[in-house]
Amino acid sequence: MATENKKAELTDLEQFRLDHGLALKEEPQLTTLNLGPTHPATHGIFQNILQMDGEKIMDAVPTIGYIHRAFEKIAERRPFYQITPLTDRMNYCSSPINNMGYHMTVEKLLGITIPKRAQYIRVIMMELARISDHLICNSILGVDSGAFTGFLYVMQEREHIYDIYEEVCGARLTTNMGRIGGMERDLSPKALHLIDEFLKRFPKVWAEFEKMLTRNRIFIDRTTDVGAISAERALSYGFTGPNLRATGVDYDVRVMNPYSSYEDFEFEIPVGSKGDTYDRFLVRNEEVWQSLKIIEQAYKNLPEGSYHADAPHYYLPPKQEVYRNMEALIYHFKIVMGEIDAPVGEVYHSVEGGNGELGFYLVSDGGRTPYRLHFRRPCFIYYQAYTEMIKGGQLADAILTLSSLNVIAGELDA
């Protein structure tokens, strides 16, 4: 009797399944999908092993470390000035910020004060780097949602920023810019001219790029409520930078702990409200305008004076002096051979990197190399939230979320 009753309640489909020896209720069939390690849409080398139910992501296991280069270990054996090239290779979209952050950390340890002019030059270079970083992130977000043109269009402007780097330090991507104690040379007339040209030309380009995406119906539909995170979770996950500000928390190292004369400049911190991909896009867009504002102020009010600190023990003397002057020769030799002893101490210094608070924790035992140098890499810290952000969403949205977080493999793995 009981079986008959049960049979009566069955639907046609269930009856069919029963007749053909299938389970009454369909078990969700999960597909395992390897997203990465090398995939054109991840823009870097990260692997995510996804459990998919159709197009829906049920679970993700990220694997990182594909380009781990042991920078913290290498730094324990190198003289201080040879560590700067390592920092280049962390966030390679905004190398000058990493360089300057590291220089400032060592300067804090050595107790060197930098002249105003050098600080302003650093601010100009750091803000140019921030623009090039955000420009890549936002235009790649356009590419991943199907708008390729804007990417190529603003890439031209990144070339112009790299031309400025080239004029200032000789390199384009991994810049190794500046030195402990200031800049390696003053801004040349050509560099000043290039910055001036950039300031005149770039606002038009960026306004046009914004016009293409900001009020674009397709783009808004693709990015709103995608990869959203609440402010509480973001803080718990240690988010900093534009990704945290998109959730509505106005934490910016440049304002909270000003370094390199940031207190002299007037600028605003844009914040979002929902912490989704669209908010992150808007925050980065607005930060580019604010960076332009800072560069303009620094360029107009560039103070006179020296471009480096008077610290002969740590700052290389001019090359022509090395051949003429005994002291200069000795200092040059000692610095190049890495025979400069740093004082005992421990310092933490953080700068606002392209992706957030880029911190350097340096422990010195009085030797010629750091005893311990730890990098607080914003990408490494916030990428662990990625699983939580994409769960329950579509695969195509996961790609957009990854792009909008601006995860840089070099910084992730150090």
């Binding site: 990182i64 470390g65 781990h68 042991a70 913290e72 270990k73 290498i74 324990e76 054996r77 003289p79 804090k108 979770r233 803080l235 718990s236 996950y237 240690g238 928390v249 934490y251 909270m256 702990n257 051979m337 890495g338 025979e339 101490g345 421990e346 310092v347 933490y348 953080s350 608070e357 911190g359 924790y361 422990v363 010629r368 005893y371 311990r372 730890h374 607080r376 490494f380 810290i381 990428y383 662990q384 939230a385 793995d413 150090a414």
Partner: protein
């Protein structure tokens, strides 16, 4: 309340006692205190939840190895930040190399997950209660913890690189 090193230290000591908090230093404007393994979890929880302090952002944490310090070879450094008061504090815990076991902070901060995995990977710290304590940046098959000072950076059998030529 304006947070200063003095009043924060006073609050912490009145809560945890002199025997658990010692070596309050100020090397670079950030107060550094030392505590023991038994108190660290409670201390970080207290700093996070106290109404006046609100030191509720885990900026970073990292291991340090001091092979010459007898019975205090391993050091774990936590750096916390109060975004409301813009106040930073650094907490250190020392322990012998034979027993690098720490309580996990993953129940207080989600970000501690990967930071602790990194400390395990590079220094061999064991975090009791961690949900997934596996290597993160190095390969799984690695048999040692590479940031420990007993592992030199370069191949020591090489004869073509003489230290004195490189100023080391």
């Amino acid at each position: 309340m304006e947070l200063t090193n003095e009043n924060v230290l006073g609050k912490i000591i009145s809560e945890f006692g002199e025997e658990n908090i010692w070596d309050a230093l100020n090397p670079d404007g950030i107060m550094t205190i030392t505590t023991n393994r038994e108190s660290i979890h409670e201390l970080i929880k207290y700093l996070r939840d106290d109404e006046e302090l609100q030191i509720s952002f885990l900026t970073t944490m990292c291991g340090i190895h001091f092979p010459d310090h007898k019975d205090k070879e391993m050091c774990m450094m936590y750096q916390l930040h109060s975004l409301r008061h813009n106040y930073r504090i650094r907490i250190k815990v020392f322990m012998p190399a034979s027993d690098p076991v720490m309580p996990t902070m993953t129940d207080l901060y989600a970000t501690a997950n990967w930071m602790e995995r990194e400390a395990f990977d590079f220094y061999g710290f064991i975090f009791t209660g961690h949900p997934n304590l596996t290597r993160i940046l190095n390969i799984e098959e690695m048999e040692y913890h590479p940031m420990l000072k007993q592992y030199p950076l370069e191949d020591q059998t090489r004869e073509d690189k003489i230290n004195t030529y490189f100023g080391r």
